[in-house]
Amino acid sequence: MSVNEKFSAIRKGLLEFLVLQIIAAEKVYVADILRQLSATEFATQEGTLYPLLSRMRREGLLDYEWKESEAGPPRKYYELTAKGREQLRETLEYWGQINGTVKKLGQK
């Protein structure tokens, strides 16, 4: 089993965290999120992202508004709610702890 495969479950779990981070920076729609992720190890597809986004919205982490696009159907632009920002802050903090643990353990 390659490292890539071993980490697939972890990547999946981290996706929500990364999406929070992307949306925190600016109002985005799905294609923007996918483009930002595509250059990374977390490259993903609409089929995965839409169910994730709708659950996050249901949990009150983010909200969207409709905007007309100059061509084609209107788009949903996502933004974080106060709860989403709070969650992002907590996750970043926790991520910092984990990172520290990974570096520290086993070193004498």
């Binding site: 999946k12 779990g13 929500e16 799905v30 294609a31 993903t44 597809q45 609409e46 089929g47 995965t48 839409y50 169910p51 994730l52 986004l53 709708s54 659950r55 919205r57 249901r58 508004e65 409709w66 905007k67 007309e68 696009s69 061509a71 084609g72 159907p73 209107p74 788009r75 949903k76």
Partner: protein
């Protein structure tokens, strides 16, 4: 040369090659099955449709209107399979087995509709838009006419012989009610997916309405949506129609029967017109004097309805002849034209003769405006008296 199918995605029409349409439908059906039990199922599906629509839009140009099968495949590959979100399992774990069961059920109906090109029709009672138990509504959907006509027929049957009420009660007990989406689809003969798409599109419409800040944007969106929904309805009507032309029973005798049926209907029309004329000219139908309390215009209206009911079976027989004969596609318009010519000729010739030999006809036609005034006056006095 490939067949092209028009679809509605997110309020816009797209034309796909047939292979691409099948792939898209399979993708959306499997997505719907995977999201069974997800509280945001409808929303996710409409998001996905919008995303696909945007990708299609990017592929099209002014000199390219149709999305090819291989392009649809590429778009769907880019979308990726619907993955049930990891955070979702905790909440919906209990309903998982149920979801799997209904998902497989959905798949079999999907295969069935794919095979036959349409759901076989069955008579159901339909509660949506029903007045009492949905019997008339169900019949209207079954034969594809306006439910008001069926209701009128029942009322008339009740008025004259009391049988309408009896038939209604029996049917209300015997005919099952359409409950599941599959049953509802079977009531109209449209595949379940079509109704599903339309329902979801409507929901998406209202959701989108909420999001537009100014009136102008809302109006534009409403206008566009209506146009697309109309295109969608036309498309399904066309599918249903071509399904019938392919499956209608064919008998060579139909070719001979059709002109006779048309003659018969033409004759019925003439009799009806004569009855109306005699009513207008003499105040009695062929010497049959009206009761004193029935105004002439009510009698004319009743005649119109009676004519409609009498001619309905004739019309239906003629239509099945069309369907039988129209199977060879080129023959379709020819049959239609010939029939219309026969029908019109009979009516016109008889009317000309009548006009020539009976001066009452001219009087009757002259009396129509005053009759309309009388009807309006009657209705007004009735309204104010209420």
């Amino acid at each position: 040369m490939n067949k092209v199918i028009t679809i509605n995605l997110g309020g816009n029409a797209y034309q796909l090659e047939e292979g691409g349409y099948d792939a898209l439908r399979a993708y959306l059906e499997s997505a719907a099955a995977k999201l069974q039990g997800n509280p945001d199922r409808d929303e996710i599906l409409s998001d996905i449709e919008l995303a696909i629509a945007e990708k299609f839009r990017a592929l099209l140009a002014s000199n390219k209107n149709v999305v090819e099968t291989k392009e649809v495949a590429a778009v769907l590959a880019e979308m990726g399979p619907i993955e049930v979100d990891a955070g979702e399992t905790a909440g919906t774990g209990a309903s998982k087995t149920g979801a799997a069961g209904s998902a497989s059920g959905q798949k079999t109906t999907g295969e069935k509709t794919a095979e036959s090109g349409g759901t076989p029709r069955r008579l159901y009672r339909i509660q949506e838009g029903a007045m009492i138990a949905g019997v008339c509504n169900g019949i209207a959907t079954y034969v594809n006419i306006d439910p008001t006509l069926v209701r009128l027929a029942f009322v008339l049957l009740t008025l004259f012989w009391g049988t309408g009420l009896l038939v209604y009660v029996v049917m209300a007990v015997v005919v099952p009610e359409a409950r599941s989406p599959e049953e509802k689809a079977a009531a109209s003969g449209f595949p379940a997916t079509a109704q599903e798409f339309i329902r979801r599109a409507r929901e998406g419409y209202y959701e989108a309405m909420k999001g537009f800040p100014d009136r102008k944007a809302r109006r534009e969106w409403r206008r566009r949506f209506k146009r697309e929904m109309r295109a969608h309805a036309d498309h399904w009507r066309y599918n249903w129609h071509s399904y019938w032309t392919e499956h209608a029973p064919f008998h060579p005798g139909m070719g001979f029967a059709l002109p006779f049926l048309s003659l018969l209907q033409g004759a019925a029309t003439v009799v009806w017109i004569c009855a109306i004329i005699s009513l207008l000219a003499t105040g009695a139908i062929f010497g049959l004097v009206l009761p004193a309390n029935v105004p002439v215009w009510v009698a004319a209206l009743l005649l119109l309805i009676a004519y409609g009911i009498l001619v309905a079976p004739l019309k239906f027989a003629r239509r099945s002849c069309y369907w039988g004969l129209g199977r060879a596609r080129y023959a379709w318009s020819f049959v239609y034209l010939m029939d219309a010519i026969v029908w019109l000729t009979v009516v016109v010739v008889l009317l000309c003769l009548a006009f020539h030999f009976h001066p009452e006809l001219q009087n009757a036609i002259h009396s129509i405006p005053s009759l309309a005034h009388q009807a309006a006056d009657d209705i007004r006095t009735w309204w104010h008296g209420k």
